[in-house]
C-alpha cells in the first residue's frame, strides 16, 4: 500500500463547508486555470448531479469561479467572489446525467476550451476531458498534454525528448478519435517539463497542440 501523509488526515486548511463540493470545486477551477493559462472574459460552468443539486448550499458555484481566477482553497474571499469579480461574463447550468460522475463539471472558457473534471472526495480532483479528448490529470503531478494527428512513432519521439531531459514519467495515457484521426497524449511527470520541451515538441510533424500543466500546490 502506498504510504499516506498525516496531512491527508489533518488538512487541508480550506474554506468550508465541504471538501468535495467546496475545496474540490476550487481545485477544479485552479486546474482549469493551469490548463487554459490565458486571461478570459467569459466562462460557463455546467454542474452535474450532486454538484447540481447541493452545490449552491456548499458554495460550489463560487468555488469553481474563484479557482479559475486563481484563489486558493483557503482564501476567505471565496464566499464574496460574486461581489469581487468584474468584467467577466460567468454563468451556470445545472444538469442531471447519470452517465457522469456524481460530482462533475464542464468548464467552458471563452467558447474556446471545454474542460471537464470530477471531484472525487476529500478535495481530490481529476480532469477527465479537454475539448473532447480523454485525459487523466489529478493535479498532484506536473503534466504534459499533446494533441496530434494519429501516426506511428509519436509516443517514442515524445518519450525520447522527455528522457533526454532526465525526467521520469509517472503515468501515461493516449487516446484517439479514429485510426489516423486526432489523437491525444497525457503524461504525468515527476518534475515539470520546461517551456523548451513544449516548444521543441511543437516543431514535431503533425502536432497541433501541446502544453505543460503545472500541478496544484
Amino acid at each position: 500500500m502506498e504510504q499516506k501523509s498525516i496531512f491527508s488526515v489533518i488538512s487541508p486548511i480550506m474554506v468550508g463547508p465541504s471538501s468535495s463540493h467546496t475545496a474540490g470545486a476550487v481545485r477544479l477551477g485552479l486546474m482549469a486555470r493551469n490548463i487554459y493559462k490565458n486571461t478570459f472574459s467569459k466562462v460557463k460552468f455546467i454542474l452535474y448531479n450532486s454538484f447540481a443539486t447541493t452545490g449552491f448550499g456548499h458554495g460550489t458555484d463560487k468555488g469553481l469561479l474563484a479557482g479559475l481566477l486563481g484563489y486558493m482553497v483557503d482564501d476567505s474571499l471565496i464566499k464574496d467572489i460574486f461581489n469581487i469579480v468584474q468584467d467577466i461574463d460567468y454563468s451556470y447550468e445545472y444538469v442531471q446525467d447519470i452517465s457522469r460522475y456524481p460530482n462533475s463539471v464542464d468548464i467552458i472558457i471563452d467558447d474556446r476550451m471545454k474542460i471537464s473534471g470530477d471531484s472525487v472526495g476529500a478535495g481530490e480532483i481529476r480532469i477527465t476531458n479537454i475539448n473532447g479528448f480523454t485525459v487523466n490529470i489529478r493535479g498532484n503531478y506536473d503534466a504534459l498534454l499533446l494533441m496530434y494527428k494519429d501516426r506511428p512513432g509519436m509516443l517514442s519521439e515524445v518519450a525520447d525528448i522527455i528522457q533526454k531531459q532526465n525526467i521520469n514519467i509517472a503515468t501515461l495515457q493516449c487516446g484517439r478519435d479514429s485510426k489516423g484521426g486526432i489523437a491525444s497524449m497525457c503524461i504525468e511527470l515527476d518534475i515539470p517539463a520546461g517551456d523548451d520541451i513544449v516548444e521543441y515538441i511543437k516543431s514535431f510533424k503533425d502536432v497541433f497542440f501541446v502544453t505543460n500543466v503545472r500541478k496544484l500546490k
Binding site: 496531512f7 488526515v9 486548511i13 480550506m14 449552491f56 456548499h58 476567505s76
Partner: protein, 292 residues
Amino acid sequence: MAILSFENLRNKSSTENKPIYVIAQEEEAELSETDIDVVRLKVLEDLTAMRAAIKNGLKSTEKAISGWSGDDCAKLKKRYRNSEALFGKVFEKITAFALATAEENLRMGRIVACPTAGSCGIVPAVIVAVAEERNIPESKLIDALLTAGEIGLVVSNKVRLAGAVAGCQAECGVASAMAAGALVEMLGGNTDEILQSSALAMKNILGLTCDPVCGLVEVPCIKRNAFLAVHAVTAAELALCGVESKIPIDEVVDVLKRTGELMSPLLKETSLGGLAKTKTAQELEKVLFKKD
C-alpha cells in the same frame, strides 16, 4: 513502511520506546523528504488555523447559505454568561468551540479538515479547550495533533474516511477517536492508554449514519460536532484511569469498516434516507430549492 494496524503502531512504540507522536513526525518527515522541524511547523500552521476558526466562529452569528444555522454557538455563549455549564468550564469551552468551528465551516469560513470538513470541529475543540484550561504549552498541542493524525491515518489505511463509504462513523466518529487519543497524549497518558481511548470512542459510534438534510453539511452535522467532542472526553477519562476496551482497537476498526459495508446506501451521504427523508426535511428541501 506504512503502519497498517494499531498493533503495528503499538509494537513500534514499545520496541523503539517512542510515543506515537514521535513515530508520526518521523514517518512524515521521511515520506515528505524533509526535517521533523518542518513537519511540526506545518502542524503548527494547522493548529493556528484551527484557533482562528474557533475565534471567528465565536464572534460571528452570520447564517449559513441555507439560512438554517449559524447562531447556535451564540446561544450557548449567552447561556454561559449567566451560569456555568453543569460540567464546568472545560465542557463549556469544548461545546462552544466545536459549534463555533462547525458553524464557521458552514458560512464558508476558513477551517481545517480533520479528518473531513464536516467533522472539522471535534479535534480542535477538545485540544484547544483543554490546553486553555490546563495551561498546556504549544509544543504539547503539536504532539497531540500529531497523535490525532496518526490515529486517523491508521484507520484510513483500512477504511476511507468519507461518509459515502462508511457513514458518519468514518467522519465525526473517527474524529472523536482521534480527539480522545490527542487528549490522552496531552494529559500524559502512554501509548496503550491513547489507543484504549480511541477504541472506546470508536466502539461507541459504530453504526452512525450519514443522512444530511438536503445534502448539506449542516443538519445534523454541526451539532454532532459538539456531541462527539464531548464524547471524546469520556473516552479519554475512562482510558486514563485504566479502563480497557474488551475488543482490541484493530478489531473495532474492522467492525467499523464492515458496518459501513452493511449500511444501506440510503444512509451513506446520499440524502435518500434517514433524517434527510423526514417530512420536515422534505419541506425544507422544497423551500431551499425554490429559493434558488
